[in-house]
Symmetry: C2
Subunit: 110 residues, 2 copies
């Protein structure tokens, strides 16, 4: 059994690396093969393949194998989960940002 908390662990950790965020960015526009995902980076294909795997294990990427090529597509659901978690804090930062904005607008009221 994998708990919700463990889900969040994997999701947030997967998002915590620039290579993987860049991969997600590309996948948000269209499906790509592992090779295509790897191409922009100065790292071995094996390394990139590992990144894809951790995205997959976080549920962020779904892979369908056709012949020898693996097609990856973004599964945005876990992003929604992460967003939901953040959502419970939204009230806090909007309050904070509103206060900041007010301060910028009327500095004399300090």
């Amino acid at each position: 059994m994998v708990t919700h908390s463990q889900n969040l662990d994997r999701i947030f950790r997967a998002l915590g690396h620039p290579t993987r965020r860049a991969m997600l960015r590309r996948l948000s526009r269209q499906e790509h093969t592992v090779g295509e995902l790897a191409e922009p980076f100065r790292m071995s294909l094996a390394a990139a393949s590992k990144h894809v795997k951790t995205l997959e294990q976080a549920g962020l990427v779904r892979r369908t194998v056709r012949g020898r090529t693996h097609y990856c597509q973004l599964n945005p659901r876990p992003l929604a989960e992460a967003d939901e978690w953040l959502g419970s804090y939204e009230r806090l930062w909007t309050k904070r940002l509103a206060a900041l904005e007010a301060l910028l607008r009327h500095p004399e009221k300090e």
Copy 2:
């Protein structure tokens, strides 16, 4: 110079541990000392103190030292940053979830 991407790295990684998320949860209700933050966990104070430090380095916690006790308060700004990043994917998952919901409502249309 610390880039925006590195900021996101630290933020997402900080969120990728249940202990730290629990600490943030508590801090979202009120300020707490390091000792108070550590108390609920079955780990040494030193270990908890490290978690606080990584939250601080991600910018999620601000610390003010008064005498020998360190008071921590949540700084929600980086959460807003993370949310902003996720926001650019929101269109994707709402579309997806809407499609799913429609499917559940009218399964015959498959």
